[in-house]
Symmetry: C2
Subunit: 190 residues, 2 copies
Amino acid sequence: MSQSTALAGQSPATRTGFADMLSADDFKSAFRNHPAGVAVITADIGAGPVGLTATSVISVSANPPLVVFSLSSASSSTPTVKLAETVVIHLLGAEQIGLARNFATSGIDRFADTSIWSRLISGEPYLPSANAWLRGRIVNQMSAGDSTVVAVQVLQVDLPGDSGRNAKESRPLVYHNRTWHSLSEDSMVK
Amino acid sequence: MSQSTALAGQSPATRTGFADMLSADDFKSAFRNHPAGVAVITADIGAGPVGLTATSVISVSANPPLVVFSLSSASSSTPTVKLAETVVIHLLGAEQIGLARNFATSGIDRFADTSIWSRLISGEPYLPSANAWLRGRIVNQMSAGDSTVVAVQVLQVDLPGDSGRNAKESRPLVYHNRTWHSLSEDSMVK
């Protein structure tokens, strides 16, 4: 169903130019200092739930509602998410830092604590305590160097307040330079 | 050079399902509460500089170094950026909130203040005071609903310290719920 499109590195021309001047460390340093919201993406293709913490979720279109995120080939969840028809994207608040850490930890059973997850009626594993979640269908995937860029058409959104959670008490979680932050009135720039 | 790929909305099947349950307002609300780093993207195809503030810049691959961002069809700069061979992506710090506001304002000449911008040797307009900037070549574009997702292979990176700027003094700028924030030790979540 999903199309796979070679995204880059196909033409030798794109590898020349100033590429020799660019250090991979400089590239990583630049983005280490670029802050991002924190999400957990879950899926199940019939072999048990998988989930991973992602700081690459962006909204790209409202009509239709489309979201894009990036999956590293180094993540153990990537093969399953790439095969999934639908995924759930959870947008995390500061109180959910435990979820962010859990789904960023390698070599553990991330679903061992059965109190943190459940199943939607449609079957996907999900995290009921997340600030907000979006369920969507994968509509495209693009190979991009050592990662895959996944495009998701959102079908369903659950927002704070929908289940008795209070949006105003829910401060967002931010990842920056290998540390976790949250936003408040004190962090505002006038 | 760039390929254009239809990303979504091609198949009627992807528009059915739970689409009727999804309110565009709910979708927008979910992402309004999802924080993001702030960037300004500049380009010039020979008809003068253009630039726009973007909160959708993500790093998707380190080998080769690839970045993705989203361009709304509503932005006046979008037609030029889509035609550009190369772009400069500036990652902003809190002290550069003026640049973020300038390049997010419609109906003005965003380059009127000639003290804020210059030209790289390679010709692109750029903002020397930005926290960090990356120059890259557009290697793919994908139509995505009312937006275009642009993939850029990074050729050159300029980091704080490279031009006498001090990385440690440079707190990142964050956009959240229509307000600007910055991160500091006080915003850390332990």
